[in-house]
């Protein structure tokens, strides 16, 4: 199980390529982070601004879902290869979680 993952015959080239790729990845992470902060501010403003709750609740939930997607796919690297089994199980977990929350919102009413 020793690692021999170099993609090209020239290790030096491979190293520089990976460096560049990591740096590029980090730039995307920072951009993601900026968006997440922006979404958070928008959610807080939306609540502070006293809009109708029929607008605010779906809106902030949507922002939360998008933000969590960013976390999962960029911060937690789920978009990278080798995450097939993790993402399958994570999505199954989300399905079960969704059904549970939905049931508690709809059929527990007294």
């Amino acid at each position: 199980m020793v690692n021999n993952q170099s993609n090209s015959s020239n290790p030096r080239l491979d190293y520089e390529y990976r460096r560049k790729k990591n740096a590029e990845g980090m730039r995307i992470q920072v951009a993601t982070f900026t968006l997440m902060i922006f979404f958070t501010v928008v959610s807080f403003v939306a609540v502070g601004a006293n809009f109708s709750k029929w607008f605010v609740i779906p809106f902030i939930l949507l922002l939360a879902v998008v933000q969590v997607g960013f976390q999962l796919y960029y911060f937690m690297h789920m978009s990278e290869k080798g995450h097939e089994a993790p993402s399958m199980f994570f999505w199954s977990a989300i399905t079960v979680a969704f059904v549970t929350v939905l049931a508690f919102m709809t059929i527990i009413w007294w």
Binding site: M36, F44, K53, I60, V68, A97, M105, I108
Partner: protein, 209 residues
């Protein structure tokens, strides 16, 4: 041990956390564990939603009376930023820069401690100002259990980060230690994922009604 073999930035593999079978197993096992945690938190959220504002008598504080958005905003910023700093730490881990990784992890821990401080202040505030205790109503039990479970995860995550940082301070990065750092940071991100839903569903929706 081949896992403790010395590396240079040039020989360091692309995904060091998954380069050994042990690392691969830990990586997958930990993701599965996070799947279970997702269902666990969903159950806590479901309970909170079902019991929100369910109090025995009108003098008990409701969600609207309790929450203070500025504090929650500060907590959110602290935790979101700490998520980014741990991404930075993993960036340096992939570049085989041990010192910078440790530095960014340290910043993550400090931000996490700030978050924890705010949460302790918050609970203390509810207790003294509103007499909102764990036992006062179904609503309070559900609130403290959901947010408290998250807080306990923060404490555990911080202890874990500190433990791997201290334990491996002298040893540095190799294929045996890389998965340890990677998983601790993954856990930290998950804590942030849960917080995104807590601040939205508990605090923001609590203020809206």
């Amino acid at each position: 041990m081949e896992a403790e073999e010395k590396y240079t930035p040039q020989t360091w593999p692309e995904s060091p956390e998954r380069a050994t079978l042990e690392g691969k197993n830990k990586f997958l096992g930990f993701w599965l564990f996070l799947g279970g945690e997702t269902v666990l938190f969903a159950s806590l959220f479901a309970t909170y939603i079902a019991l929100k504002d369910k109090v025995p008598s009108p003098e008990h504080a409701l969600a609207k009376d309790l929450y203070e958005l500025p504090l929650v905003f500060v907590m959110t910023m602290l935790l979101l930023t700490s998520s980014l700093t741990s991404v930075y730490a993993m960036y340096h881990m992939k570049n085989f820069n041990f010192k910078k990784m440790q530095l960014w992890l340290l910043i993550t821990v400090i931000l996490g401690l700030g978050f924890l401080g705010c949460e302790i202040y918050e609970f203390n505030h509810y207790y003294h100002e509103y007499n909102h205790t764990f036992t006062s109503s179904a609503f309070s039990s559900a609130f403290y259990t959901l947010v408290g479970f998250h807080g306990a995860h923060v404490i555990f995550g911080l202890s874990w980060l500190v433990l791997v940082m201290v334990r491996n301070a002298k040893r540095g990065l190799n294929l045996y230690t890389a998965p340890k750092f990677y998983l601790a940071s993954l856990y930290w991100h998950f804590i942030d994922v849960v917080w995104v839903f807590i601040f939205t569903v508990v605090y923001l929706m609590g203020m809206v009604g």
